[in-house]
């Protein structure tokens, strides 16, 4: 018997079969563990068993109970995943700050020509400019940020769809972690720079900050719901670049990131202020400035969030059928 085979345990099977006995890979001491943190009684092991200990019925994605610890963990993973790219995030903060300064000068010139325009004074306009630049990272105003299109293209989505958790909630939890990290690293620096260079206004008191926090979260929810719909479109279009650029045009122009929406005149202005994109940057920025009532703004954002998330849930159901038909 060759030395190569000597690793196999001797037994009755070995006598009949000349090949070495198969062993479960996880218990093969000859193979080093891929990850020192993976193994029994570690955090990761518990994380894996957490979602495997339930049996998976066929329709699980639609009837799975809401499992709070799972989603809390996904939020943390989303945060940690983006925390890996700290230099990229800081470079983004730098670029957003530079564009914030350039746009601020244009707005200052406009408000010097028309003081009190749109109910803002110059400081309001400058603050608006830096706050909306700060939203670019956490709200992901330039689009993307989700793994779904790539996973649809590679077919990995089939795996995601049989998980005992909704694909939409799963992506949303990860995206919340991403938004939290980018809020800290890409959101705060532009506003601090604006405060240092020009001076900015702040929400007043606890109620002001709480209102802003709620509207910020609602704005993120609308943003996620929209990007999720854009991501699902890959399933029907295969090449999603066109939709991505279309979404980029709509979001940059209609969110209020490039120009405050109250400046858009006439019925066109009323229309753009009622569209979902206004809920992503204009609405939370107005609550930050104190120029919009928080409760009404929140209601406006929440209705768009619910509508778009419901559409996303329908879309998730539809791609499930499509993936099954394709045999993926």
């Amino acid at each position: 018997m060759s030395t190569r085979r000597s690793q196999g345990p001797p037994g009755p099977a070995a006598a009949l079969n000349p090949l070495p006995a198969a062993r479960p890979r996880a218990h093969n001491p000859a193979l080093p563990s891929a990850d020192p943190r993976a193994g029994p009684r570690t955090a990761r092991h518990r994380a894996i068993t957490l979602r495997r200990c339930e049996t998976i019925p066929f329709h699980a994605p639609f009837h799975a109970p809401f499992h709070a610890p799972l989603y809390a963990r996904l939020v943390r993973y989303g945060f940690r995943k983006h925390a890996t790219y700290v230099w990229g995030a800081l470079a983004g903060a730098f670029t957003n700050s530079v564009f914030g300064v350039l746009r601020a000068y244009v707005l200052i010139a406009l408000w010097e020509a028309r003081p009190g325009l749109a109910g803002y004074d110059v400081t309001h306009a400058v603050t608006y400019c830096f706050v909306t630049q700060a939203f670019i990272g956490p709200m992901q105003l330039f689009g993307g940020g989700l793994d779904v299109p790539e996973r649809i293209r590679t077919g990995d989505i089939a795996l995601d769809l049989v998980r005992p958790a909704s694909l939409q909630l799963w992506s949303m939890a990860e995206d919340l972690g991403r938004a939290g990290y980018l809020f800290l690293v890409r959101g705060i620096p532009p506003v601090l720079l604006g405060a240092a260079l020009f001076g900015v206004v702040r929400p007043s008191g606890f109620a002001g900050w709480a209102g802003f926090a709620a509207c910020f979260l609602a704005g993120w929810a609308v943003g996620f719901a929209w990007r999720y719909l854009v991501a699902l479109s890959v399933c029907w279009l295969v090449d999603d670049r066109g939709v991505q650029v279309g979404s980029l045009v709509l979001t940059t122009l209609l969110s209020g990131m490039m120009i405050p929406l109250p400046l858009v005149p006439g019925p066109l202005g009323e229309l753009v202020r009622a569209l979902p994109w206004a809920a992503m940057a204009q609405a939370p920025a107005d609550v930050y400035l104190g120029t919009a009532p928080p409760l009404e703004t929140l209601a406006f954002q929440a209705s768009w969030a619910v509508a778009l998330l419901a559409l996303g849930a329908l879309g998730t159901r539809a791609i499930r059928h499509k993936v099954v038909i394709q045999g993926g």
Partner: protein, 262 residues
């Protein structure tokens, strides 16, 4: 050199045109995306008749002149900032052993003719502004000069940005603040900016010579910051003055490049 550039660009263009529907959609949407900046200018002038002393048509003239040069560079040179991807993936080593300048290989890398729509859009805005403004015809010779100057300045900026990435492989996005930031900065008359910022982009980084200084000559106006009138004609000098350090930085970067180490 030029024929090599055309050959490589044509190769990439044919690759981009393989998916016809996607190609057409990208061309249209890219133009629309570039036009959002014009939309912002139009919204601003729906609320005021003059911005920092400049009228609607004058701002569109400055925007058009700068953006023709910027979009031209974005199409024909802008891809050099993809160098950090090639350094990380190790494919830059392959570029170094081919018998073509690595700068040309990078400039044509992923060349996409869909960006021509943006140049057309900027040129249309410039043509509109030139027609709408009542300009002195004897000063119009400056318009082509300023566009060529702008192309050289932006191309040098992109080359500098690419050279910096030999040392900044971790955060390639940081150079966007300089390349795309310069495109944004030159869209508006410099009189909106603070005096110190304008000094910086006149004497340190010569962005004022893309459209501001020569544009003042074409419009027949004095500089609100009071620079002497001979500076209106210094554009070509400034462009060469930036191209030289850019060329040296690029050569230095190539010489000191040590592969990814594996």
């Amino acid at each position: 050199m030029v024929s090599t550039y055309i050959l490589l660009a044509w190769t990439w263009a044919r690759a981009a045109m393989a998916y016809r529907a996607s190609f057409a959609l990208m061309a249209v949407l890219g133009t629309v995306l570039a036009a959002t900046d014009v939309a912002v200018i139009l919204v601003i002038f729906a609320n005021t008749t003059s911005l920092a002393g400049f009228s609607h048509d004058e701002v569109l003239f400055l925007y058009g002149a700068s953006n023709v040069a910027f979009c031209f560079c974005d199409m024909f040179v802008g891809n050099v900032d993809r160098i950090s991807r090639h350094i990380k993936a190790g494919t830059f080593d392959a570029m170094l052993i081919r018998p073509v300048s690595p700068w040309i290989q990078l400039a044509t890398d992923n060349f996409s003719p869909t960006r021509a729509g943006r140049i057309a859009q900027a040129a249309a805005v410039l043509a509109y502004a030139l027609a709408a403004l009542d300009l002195d015809a004897r000063r119009l010779w400056m318009v082509p000069v300023m566009i060529v100057t702008g192309v050289v300045i932006f191309a040098s900026l992109w080359t500098l940005a690419a050279s910096v990435q030999f040392v900044l492989t971790d955060a390639p996005e940081v150079v966007n603040a300089f390349t795309y930031g310069s495109g944004q900065l030159t869209q508006y008359p410099f009189s909106v900016y603070a005096r110190d910022l304008v000094r910086g982009v006149t004497y340190a980084l010569p962005l004022a010579f893309v459209n501001w200084q020569p544009g003042l000559y074409v419009l027949g106006r004095d500089d609100p910051f009071g620079t002497p009138s001979f500076m209106r004609f210094l554009g070509p000098v400034a462009a060469v003055g930036l191209a030289l350090p850019a060329w040296l930085a690029w050569r230095r970067g190539i010489r000191h490049y040590r592969s990814t180490g594996s």
